[in-house]
């Protein structure tokens, strides 16, 4: 049905809306977005979907292959591990540790980092190339190494790993926010708002923020992908989540001893991790391209 045109002004979609319109054209990216929504869903309602507990053992069903093979049992759809624990239950519970917790950590450090970055950029006068150089140097150190340093101080454990990743993420968001505001600072629309005499708070939330939110979204997806990978890597190195926790990385680490006898115990957590990371990276890359295309117009 054609929309009756009552007004003569053009409908201009906001920057974020235009990015979304561009994003929607890529079918793979939409698929990846659905996968991410599905993972969020199972990490919220996982316990309601699974018949068993994550650490519940079945003595009669040790190292069963997935249900479709000859020796499989339909009670255990993706088989069981060497202690007789249901794989699919552990994978579903693992989504909480390997996806939901990194997501929360990135959200929290994004809030802190963006606030600090905005403060750093708004208080002009501290025109410190020193801070910029130091942050540049800090950026060049791999996040996994920084997390290892923090874990060396605090000792292994899932809580410490999460804390470490969160602390590592904060400077990245700070850096990106500060640079983005710096790039926008000299543009005419900002000068115009300044001439209007708006307060600093208004300038930040109403003038800068809508224009830098795209950059922050990209940084958020990059940070999420890095956080998921790092939490899993620390779990794999046995420095993060510890033994019975069904975190995907530590499940992989435990499966190494039986990898040659029951390969599915090793393959499945890695596959789950792989699918999650592909989805996050695909969404991030498509967003980046959409924003790039919009900037070129």
């Amino acid at each position: 049905m054609p929309r009756p045109n009552l007004y003569y002004e053009e409908r201009m979609p906001s920057p974020l809306q235009r990015v979304w319109l561009e994003f929607r054209r890529n079918a793979f990216a939409i698929g990846a977005l659905y996968i991410l929504i599905f993972i969020v869903f199972i990490s919220l309602f996982g316990p309601l979907l699974t018949p068993y507990g994550p650490n519940q053992q079945f003595i009669d069903a040790i190292s069963l292959p997935p249900a479709w093979s000859v020796n499989g049992d339909v009670r255990f759809l993706l088989g069981t591990d060497e202690l007789g624990r249901d794989m699919i239950t552990r994978l579903i519970y693992g989504a909480r540790y390997s996806f939901a917790l990194p997501l929360l950590v990135v959200i929290i450090s994004a809030l802190i980092g963006v606030t600090l970055g905005a403060i750093a950029a708004m208080t002009v006068g501290v025109k410190s190339s020193t801070l910029k150089h130091l942050l540049d140097v800090l950026m060049s150190i791999p996040s996994l190494l920084l997390a290892l340093v923090i874990i060396a101080l605090t000792g292994p454990g899932l809580g410490n790993a999460l804390l470490a990743i969160g602390l590592v993420m904060i400077p990245q968001f700070l850096h990106v926010t500060r640079n983005a505001i710096h790039d926008e600072r000299r543009k005419p629309y900002v000068t115009a708002s300044r001439l209007n005499g708006v307060s600093d708070y208004y300038l930040l939330t109403m003038v800068f923020f809508p224009n830098i939110v795209r950059v922050l979204v990209i940084q958020f997806t990059i940070g999420l992908s890095v956080a998921i990978f790092d939490i899993a890597a620390l779990g794999f190195l046995r420095l993060g989540a510890q033994a019975p926790t069904p975190e995907w990385g530590s499940m992989l680490a435990q499966s190494l001893e039986v990898a040659y006898v029951t390969p599915w115990v090793m393959a499945l957590p890695g596959l789950a991790l792989f699918i999650t990371l592909v989805s996050v990276n695909l969404v991030g890359e498509t967003l980046r391209q959409a924003i790039q295309k919009q900037l070129e117009q």
């Binding site: 130091l134 140097v137 791999p142 996994l144 190494l145 340093v149 420095l239 992989l252 040659y260």
Partner: protein
């Protein structure tokens, strides 16, 4: 250039100083006696009092830091709490082993990465481009520890093509001098060098390939994006208009300019490479620094943690500055931007 060089070297100096200050502070932040944490000598050792005096622990913090620096430059980085081996000598050997697979992986990643990136950029939006981009994103997302395990399971166990772990068959008596196994074989002059090189090569092939995958995929994307930028420039259009062949345009106009942006982002690639080397060394039992550092974190071997962090931190900082310098030296227009900036 001189001004930029001086500025970068000053920056390097101060960041290295900050790094050493940090590792110095670590011996206080770790549990237990600071003397033991920095030197690896236990309090019940008879030489404990001498060591404490030599490291300035009867004076203030500043004197201690100076003493710490003096010990660092003298090559006395303490002893491992586990086996009493001198940290510095061990570090040299392990550093060589890590550097060897890192450089080889970078080399393996470089040419296919650039080639595929250029190929994708030549046909943007076509099926070639989409295939390469899809491959690049999925390859970039493979968790490297899982991929390494799959590779071992398939190539080493199922097909039996390569050994599972280690640097070389232990029956070869190759003393570790530099840590880099290829150089060590050349130095040791074994009876049949061909067999030794062959064994080292077979041990190396799996870790280096797995390590190269992720940087290669990142490189494909970096090259493609910067190549796309460059191909839209006017000078490319004009060189086509002059009647140059595609090959000539690519080699002498597009590629050198596209490489500028790639080199600017190379430090991301290096940090990715270092993080992955850590994980892979644990999996392949490669006697490198990552393997050692991770083990020392389990065992709370504080002198080793300090030394390992110091050397890896310095490696990253020095590479960062060298890349910046190379970038400014190779591309004068970047230098102009730097000087014009206030």
């Amino acid at each position: 250039m001189t001004r930029y060089l001086l500025r970068q070297i000053t920056l390097l100096f101060f960041t290295l100083l900050a790094l050493s200050l940090f590792t110095f502070c670590l011996s206080y932040w770790f549990a237990g006696s600071a003397v033991t944490n920095s030197s690896g000598i236990f309090p019940d050792d008879p030489s404990y009092a001498t060591i404490a005096t030599a490291r300035g622990f009867d004076g203030g913090y500043f004197g201690q830091y100076i003493a710490y620096l003096r010990h660092l430059f003298a090559g006395d980085w303490g002893r491992s709490l586990l086996d009493g081996a001198p940290v510095f000598e061990q570090l040299i050997v392990r550093f060589g082993a890590s550097l060897e697979i890192m450089l080889l992986a970078l080399l393996v990643a470089w040419f296919p990465g650039v080639a595929f990136g250029v190929l994708a950029a030549l046909k943007p939006g076509r099926s070639v481009d989409n295939t390469i981009l899809g491959m690049s994103i999925s390859g970039y997302s493979i968790p490297v520890f899982w991929f390494a395990q799959l590779a071992i399971l398939l190539v080493a166990v199922q097909w039996g093509l390569t050994p599972i772990a280690g640097q070389i068959n232990p029956l070869f008596d190759i003393p570790a001098v530099t840590g880099s196994i290829l150089i060590d074989i050349a130095l040791a002059q074994p009876a049949n060098p061909q067999a030794a090189y062959y064994s080292a090569f077979m041990h190396m092939i799996l870790p280096v390939t797995v390590l190269a995958i992720m940087p290669m995929m990142l490189l494909i994307r970096l090259t493609r994006n910067s190549m796309l930028d460059v191909l839209n420039k006017n000078y490319i259009v004009s060189s086509y208009a002059k009647g140059m062949s595609t090959r000539r345009v690519l080699w002498s106009h597009a590629l050198p300019n596209a490489m500028q942006q790639v080199i600017r982002q190379l430090s991301n690639l290096i940090s990715l490479l270092i993080a992955n080397t850590f994980i892979l060394e644990v999996i392949f039992s490669w006697p490198g620094i990552g393997n050692w550092l991770v083990r020392s974190i389990y065992e709370r071997d504080y002198p080793v943690i300090q030394g390992g962090l110091l050397i890896i931190g310095s490696l990253i900082l020095v590479t960062h500055v060298l890349l910046n310098l190379f970038h400014a030296w190779r591309y004068p227009q970047v230098r102009k931007d730097l000087y014009a900036a206030p």
